[in-house]
């Protein structure tokens, strides 16, 4: 299962057609916010008109536009969408979200690594940003994670491809707080020793691409988390513990 198949699948969803493009007609503001924009924008516009302030009129006018059309250009730029029903589709929309890819060599057999990974409740032990993973049934699970900048995020995911010793792929279910899809490939290394592990993750970052980019720049992003998490995973698999320079257990990172 490749990432392109995941995204292709999501395109077939009816909701997708209107929201996958960033055309200016797209509604991305919730009803409540639309009313707030209309009222607030009207007040600012009138204030600007009375004081003869072009800036006031312009600000009020843009808020009125936002309230009337339900489209916010700033939200569009930030990748934010608060419109109701926006989450009613699986995975991540095409042309949307961030894609993170990481490969590393782990000196253990693919099957051993697959077994560890397939037991999803193991993952929070190595993935620092995961709080918990609970299995609902054989395919579905509920995930809780710490997001960038200290947010708590929850989503439900289903496993869509599962080949023992080779690959696991998943996507989030409609109604989730985070739209995400991903896969882990376990390939016998060409060196003849161990496994080449490839993790791909695609997600619509809460707050939009710009926030995710800033988080990454200050070392708080998912990319940084994932890299450190996979390093821990490798350490546990190869050495049985996570290396630390702590002098006492209380200081253990």
């Amino acid at each position: 299962m490749s990432m392109s198949m995941l995204t292709d699948k999501s395109i077939t969803h009816p909701q997708q057609k209107s929201s996958s493009s960033s055309c200016c007609n797209t509604e991305n503001v919730s009803r409540k916010e639309q009313w707030a924009s209309l009222i607030g924008g009207g007040a600012v516009f009138l204030y600007g008109l009375r004081r003869g302030s072009w800036l006031g009129m312009l600000t009020g006018g843009s808020l009125l536009y936002r309230g009337w059309t339900g489209h916010c250009m700033v939200y569009d730029q930030l990748g934010i969408n608060t419109k109701e029903g926006h989450f009613d589709r699986p995975g991540v929309r095409a042309q949307h979200g961030r894609r993170v890819n990481w490969t590393l060599h782990i000196n253990r057999d693919p099957q051993e690594l697959y077994d560890f990974w397939r037991e999803l409740s193991n993952l929070p032990n190595v993935m620092s940003h995961l709080v918990s993973v609970q299995s609902i049934d054989k395919e579905r699970s509920r995930w809780t994670a710490r997001g960038p900048m200290g947010q708590t995020l929850e989503w439900e995911a289903e496993i869509i491809t599962d080949k023992p010793g080779e690959v696991i792929a998943w996507q989030s279910l409609p109604g989730s707080q985070v739209d995400t899809a991903g896969s882990v490939h376990f390939r016998k290394s060409a060196t003849g020793q161990g496994t080449d592990l490839e993790v791909t993750l695609k997600y619509d970052p809460p707050g939009g691409n710009m926030v995710a980019q800033i988080a990454h720049l200050v070392g708080q992003g998912l990319e940084d988390d994932l890299q450190e998490d996979l390093r821990r995973f490798k350490q546990i698999c190869e050495s049985g513990e996570i290396a630390t320079n702590a002098q006492r257990p209380a200081m253990k990172a």
């Binding site: 450190e228 290396a243 002098q247 257990p249």
Partner: protein
């Protein structure tokens, strides 16, 4: 406990710090019986290595008695006398499994920091900057040893601490430097720097079949020891031109292999050495590359250059074109200490070499600050300082 701590350029103190404890299942705590100041500690002393932090405990050459063990260490017992390799290795990754212990994938908790500069991270080291792990060193009363089931080697009774201490770094480092030369029977091997690593490299080169070993330095005492203990012919670079002399000694061919056992703080009397010094004074460079250049310049065509001397990161005016034109092989890197320990311990046990001949200063650990200065200034014929906690 007492420990030697780093506080900045030429500021080393002996302080009271909390004792270490077992943190991970494969840890051991070792009560230090003897520790040494290494030439590479001087790079830290003069603040040449980035990512040191005030209060860091120094020291990566040490030995002692096991006083506590994590639940997963099965091959050691409380009370064992051990020497600990300065490189920390997990024993399970691709590199450890292929005998490349100083390149261990898993022992550097700050690997991301090293990757930014090097692309990939080498192993963690004791007492040697945060980029290389941030591990507390062994110039202290106690040390926490991670992956203690892989590194420490037990020392048999009948051998003194002074005889085996240098297995922790400089003896294996000298040996690997010679091994990297790919010596053929009868080869001529020239060694720049007759400090401890240079001495062990010369001894090892002989062991590996070199017909002639040439030691280069400027301190008469070091040259004397090289002659006496390794059978080397010596060159004092303050008295003669190194390149000319080496060519005369080899009928114009140059040595088959050249070892740079000096590293980034090279002294020299040639123009490029002054250039390095000037750049450094203006804080435009971290490494002085005079010896690296001379080694490449002097080596015979198709010969091997081996570099056990430590370099930080980016060396200026590195004559890659010369190395290319002469089709040299360049070998270098931190020592895969674990690989050599059993063999070198056997040499010591069989009496082939008593490495303690290098020790010139035996001091209580309280006098470490003074000894760092003495060693740096090469005062008092200082070659090797050992400290007793």
């Amino acid at each position: 406990m007492k420990a030697v701590t780093w506080h900045g350029k030429e500021d080393v103190r002996v302080e009271n710090v909390p004792d270490p404890e077992i943190v991970n299942p494969r840890d051991a705590i070792v009560k230090i019986s003897l520790t040494a100041i290494c030439g590479s500690d001087l790079h830290l002393y003069v603040n040449r290595i980035p990512t040191m932090e005030s209060g860091d405990i120094l020291g990566h050459e040490f030995m002692g008695e096991v006083v506590a063990l994590g639940s997963e260490v099965k091959n050691l017992s409380i009370g064992d006398r051990v020497v600990v390799p300065f490189t920390i290795s997990c024993g399970g990754c691709y590199y450890c499994k292929n005998d490349l212990y100083s390149l261990c994938d898993n022992s550097n908790p700050n690997a991301a920091m090293a990757e930014k500069i090097y692309g990939h991270s080498p192993s963690g080291l004791f007492g040697y900057s945060h980029m290389l792990g941030g591990y507390a060193g062994g110039q202290a009363e106690y040390v926490r040893v991670p992956f203690a089931d892989v590194g420490p080697i037990k020392v048999p009774d009948g051998l003194s601490d002074e005889q085996v201490l240098f297995l922790s770094d400089i003896f294996p480092t000298g040996y690997m430097a010679a091994e990297n030369c790919g010596i053929k029977e009868g080869d001529t091997v020239a060694v720049w720097g007759c400090g401890p690593v240079g001495q062990f490299a010369m001894w090892s080169a002989r062991k590996l079949g070199a017909g002639r070993v040439i030691g280069i330095d400027r301190f008469p005492e070091r040259l004397r020891l090289a002659k006496e203990y390794t059978g080397a012919t010596t060159i004092n670079y303050e008295e003669v031109d190194v390149f000319e002399t080496l060519q005369e000694m080899t009928s114009g061919r140059g040595p088959d292999a050249c070892i740079d056992a000096v590293g980034s703080e090279a002294h020299g009397l040639t123009l490029d050495a002054w250039y390095d010094l000037a750049k450094e004074k203006m804080m435009l460079s971290t490494d002085r590359g005079h010896v690296a250049r001379q080694v490449i310049h002097s080596c015979r065509k198709g010969g091997t250059v081996s570099i056990p001397g430590v370099y930080g990161a980016f060396l200026d005016k590195f004559p890659l074109g010369v190395a290319f034109a002469k089709a040299l092989q360049l070998r270098m890197g931190q020592t895969h200490v674990h690989r050599y320990l059993p063999m070198l311990l056997d040499y010591i046990r069989e009496g082939e070499l008593d490495p303690s001949y290098l020790i010139t200063h035996r001091m209580p650990i309280e006098r470490a600050p003074e000894m760092y200065r003495t060693f740096m200034e090469k005062e008092d014929d200082c070659i090797k300082v050992v400290l007793k906690p």
